[in-house]
């Protein structure tokens, strides 16, 4: 089977997007999107872990039997997350202070498991890594957009504290769009996450329908 990286990219970022099509990884999506910066940070950490862990699963795909694959997947994702956690704590401590909270949460994300099962366990290392990476990018984009909408409506800022995450060079990203204390508090509290995610799902479906594309089959299971 030849791999078409462009298809992988399109699938990961749009047609088969982890959050907005497959509805996976909703726990970190809901919990970590109270600002665009948090969404971006969680997304980037997940993308890094997914790229590394899909590669590992793919390398060992012929060495574990069907019966024990789930425990092996758990082992691989837990190991990758722990290693990323320790390395970031030791050598990227400033970033770790911002992201450190999110990293252990990646273990409970269903998206890597879905990709191990559907892709990495059946494909060679490079395409698997690309799949993990693009799925991670799609996840990052979805989380950043949800975070941005919630942050603008809830606190009136956009990418507040982005320089803490990305370094002082990104100070220009920090914007205040609405005057202080005008935001709707509910949007940065848990209900806002459900509202915004739901509305974005609707928006994506509408764009897909308007462009004449059928709703992908994989999304059918969450359709009514």
């Amino acid at each position: 089977m030849t791999t078409d990286y462009r298809t992988l990219a399109r699938e990961g970022i749009w047609t088969n997007n982890g959050v907005l099509s497959m509805m996976l990884g909703l726990c970190p999506t809901m919990a970590m999107t109270n600002s665009a910066t948090n969404g971006l940070g969680m997304g980037l950490a997940t993308a890094a872990v997914m790229t590394a862990s899909t590669l590992l699963v793919s390398i060992f795909r012929n060495h574990f039997s069907q019966e024990v694959r789930i425990p092996v997947f758990v082992l691989i994702i837990a190991t990758t997350v722990t290693i990323v956690d320790m390395c970031m704590n030791a050598w990227m401590h400033e970033l770790y202070k911002v992201l450190g909270l999110f990293i252990p949460l990646i273990v409970v994300n269903c998206l890597p498991f879905a990709r191990f099962e559907m892709f990495s366990a059946k494909n060679s290392p490079l395409p698997s890594m690309a799949d993990g990476f693009f799925m991670g990018v799609g996840f990052t984009l979805a989380l950043t957009v949800i975070g941005a909408v919630r942050e603008i409506t809830g606190s009136g800022t956009l990418f507040a504290d982005a320089s803490l995450l990305l370094g002082p060079a990104f100070k220009f990203m920090e914007m205040r769009l609405l005057p202080e204390d005008t935001g709707i508090l509910m949007m940065i509290l848990p209900p806002g996450a459900f509202l915004v995610t739901g509305l974005l799902l609707v928006a994506k479906r509408m764009i897909d329908e308007r462009s004449g594309k059928a709703v992908p089959v994989s999304a059918a299971h969450c359709a009514p």
């Binding site: 039997s65 019966e67 024990v68 290693i83 320790m86 030791a90 508090l185």
Partner: protein, 216 residues
């Protein structure tokens, strides 16, 4: 037959556990010292915010004293010393807020006056209760320089309870908890003042004996 298959699966899983376990041990070995260093640096940074540099010449994070609180919990006190004399102390105090404990690092000088207070960790509602963080507002800075007696003990409350500290619009429980944590911290300092002074005695003694030996 089937038990043999089970055995094989077990061996495969065992091999993976062993391999990845070793990988983790190696990573831990490489990073453990760095992580410990970073933790000390963090501790020093948070201590530097509540104890001004001018009053100490020691390493705050390493000169510690374990004290017992009224509830029987151990409290680590970080001592500021200058030329061997204790000049101040910093310790953590906490009180339950709207959701979960609010931890405050409190720096106090020997007269019981607050050198600085900073919220270390809290889970208050974003946008309402988080104004207690120094980066979201200067509310916490107004405690600097106060002590029990200034204002008097019965004024160590938020205004709603008849005290002198402002609450925020929409949040009373959070500032009430912070005021309580700081008030209790000061009372804890009073109760343990002699022990904190004793630390100085120990320290100067060891220094003196070293100094005595040196010229001979």
């Amino acid at each position: 037959m089937s038990s043999q298959r089970t055995l094989i699966h077990g061996m495969i899983l065992g091999a993976f556990c062993l391999g990845f376990g070793m990988l983790l041990v190696m990573t831990n070995g490489f990073t453990v010292d760095e992580i410990a260093l970073r933790a000390i640096e963090d501790r020093q940074n948070s201590l530097a915010q509540v104890i001004p540099d001018s009053i100490h010449d020691n390493n705050l994070a390493t000169d510690t004293l374990i004290l017992k609180s009224d509830q029987g919990n151990e409290v680590v006190a970080y001592l500021a010393t200058k030329e061997g004399k204790v000049t101040g102390v910093a310790f953590e105090t906490s009180s339950p807020g709207y959701s979960g404990a609010i931890k405050v690092m409190l720096g106090v000088d020997l007269d019981g006056k607050i050198l600085g207070a900073r919220v270390l960790a809290h889970k208050e509602t974003p946008g309402l209760g988080d104004k207690i963080e120094v980066k979201k507002g200067d509310w916490i800075l107004r405690f600097t320089g106060l002590s029990i007696g200034n204002p008097p003990l019965d004024k160590w409350k938020v205004k709603k309870d008849g005290g002198q500290f402002d609450q925020f619009a929409g949040a009373t429980i959070t500032p009430r908890a912070v005021v309580k944590a700081i008030r209790e911290g000061l009372q804890f300092f009073d109760a343990n003042k002699t022990k904190i002074m004793e630390f100085k005695a120990d320290k100067t003694q060891t220094k003196n004996t070293e100094a005595d030996k040196a010229p001979k």
